[in-house]
């Protein structure tokens, strides 16, 4: 069994287009939420705010002819993967490229392309759509584009489990590296879901906050959509050491499971089982954990249920945990959320800083843990969990440790 370490991180987020700028803002508790600009008719929306990736100029990253093949989601995916690969300092020669996996989570795929194409058909009454509509929309497009742009020839596919997609993707890559099935992996998640149709869909669920997201807080009013991508380079420890790579952290456990209950309502036992599975897989006791990067969507139901699940898993130790929601700053980037949050978790361990839950107005009696409210906290973290719980009752939790 190999130990699996992280040697590269790439991030494109509402708080910056690099891992450094993203983490710097997360640490400072800056909100990436603002008025919706990506929709051409925002006046027709009830929802007025989202966490958009701002000032993203695709032509800074791609040639014009390449862009006709890339939905916004794949642009994010490739940009983040390139950053991670450069940081890892890996060159993918043919033998290594054949043994490198590309496993990318996404919840909803190329929504911008889908929305534009259907608008042409239904609103503009045009008779045809752009020729590459299908390969831009498909949910495996981000994985395929990373594989093509970066020359990765090993196992490559998409993982879809809504809001847990990226965590499942990274967990799967972790398992493949641990067992020796591959020698390297680019794993993470991407999402670009701020379109008219998707927003209308979320509005119809009646779970969106009109102003901002306030996870675990009293008077919280729901979630806010986000977007972006985060990619990790994972390698077996021996290989990373042999090539003298800088090791950014270690993934030590992965737990997953399904509620087999309600389509949308969170399930305390399902959440708890995923966390317990991750701890058992990592051979960690609950008391070994100092920090939990929560799923923390800001809905009434999730935050209350996740708190109950944390009590169930951690017992008396729950009160000693720092628990924070990165979604308080970057919104909910669905299939990218787990990767963006794992980057924050790894950086928090590395720099001994727990990122805050911002927008916190005070205690909700149903949410009685330490949510690191509004300001980051300096704290040694040896081990942490990153939680992702999806619609459809699909749960995934990663356990990470300081590399020593």
């Amino acid at each position: 069994m190999n130990r699996v370490v992280v040697t590269g991180l790439g991030t494109i987020s509402p708080l910056g287009h690099t891992t450094a700028s993203y983490w710097d803002s997360v640490k400072q508790g800056i909100s990436g939420i603002g008025p919706i600009t990506l929709v051409s008719t925002p006046e027709q929306l009830t929802q007025k705010v989202a966490a958009e990736v701002k000032n993203f100029d695709p032509l800074r990253h791609f040639e014009e002819r390449e862009l006709s093949t890339l939905d916004r989601i794949s642009q994010f995916a490739v940009v983040a993967a390139r950053e991670a690969i450069i940081q890892a300092g890996i060159t993918f020669d043919i033998p290594l490229s054949l043994r490198t996996a590309t496993i990318i989570g996404t919840g909803v795929g190329g929504q911008t392309t889908l929305d534009e194409s259907f608008r042409r058909l239904y609103v503009e009454k045009k008779s045809r759509v752009f020729p590459l509509t299908i390969p831009k929309v498909m949910v495996n497009a981000p994985a395929s584009q990373i594989s093509m742009f970066c020359g990765l020839r090993g196992p490559a596919f998409a993982v879809a489990s809504a809001c847990a997609s990226a965590t499942h993707a990274i967990g799967l890559a972790f398992q493949m590296l641990r067992s020796g099935a591959v020698d390297c992996a680019v794993a993470g998640g991407a999402e670009a879901c701020i379109t008219f149709g998707t927003l209308r869909g979320w509005e119809a669920m009646r779970v969106m906050a009109p102003d901002t997201v306030r996870p675990f807080s009293k008077d919280r009013k729901g979630m806010v959509l986000g977007e972006g991508a985060a990619m990790l380079i994972l390698e077996p420890l021996e290989r990373a050491r042999a090539r003298g790579a800088t090791i950014l952290g270690e993934i030590v456990g992965f737990g997953m499971g399904a509620d087999a209950a309600d389509l949308t309502a969170p399930d305390k036992d399902g959440m708890a089982r995923a966390m317990e599975n991750a701890l058992a897989d990592a051979k960690l006791a609950p008391s070994d954990i100092q920090y939990v990067n929560a799923h923390g969507t800001g809905t009434a139901a999730n935050d209350q249920t996740e708190t109950q699940a944390l009590h169930q898993v951690f017992g008396a130790h729950a009160g000693k945990l720092g628990v924070s929601s990165t979604k308080s700053m970057i919104g909910h980037a669905l299939g990218a959320a787990g990767a963006l949050e794992l980057v924050a978790t790894l950086m928090s361990i590395r720099e001994s800083v727990m990122p805050p839950t911002i927008g916190y107005l005070g205690r909700d009696p149903a949410c009685d843990l330490d949510y690191v409210p509004n300001e980051a906290r300096v704290a040694n973290i040896d081990a942490a969990l990153s939680n992702s719980f999806a619609f459809g009752g699909l749960n995934a939790v990663l356990a990470v440790k300081k590399f020593t």
């Binding site: 669920m205 009646r206 779970v207 009013k221 729901g222």
Partner: protein
Amino acid sequence: MSDIASDVIEIIAKKKRVEKPTVELTDRLDALGLESLDAVEMIFDLEEKFDIEIPYNANTNNPRTEFGTVGEVVSAIEKIVANKKS
């Protein structure tokens, strides 16, 4: 019974999760077994049926407690429909 009342009863009857041959104005929503997604779907059906907008956020509203009975839903809809006409 008003047209609105019979329409509302028809919509709620489709969402109920308890064995009960008819839905009455005096029935409580929680006693009919409506769950949170049922409530969201019920609101949608009411909006579609009466061409109205019902401000409703599942995080802060709870129709099972805000509207005790089917009759209270009917009065609320009657008010929104009347405001729309005026």
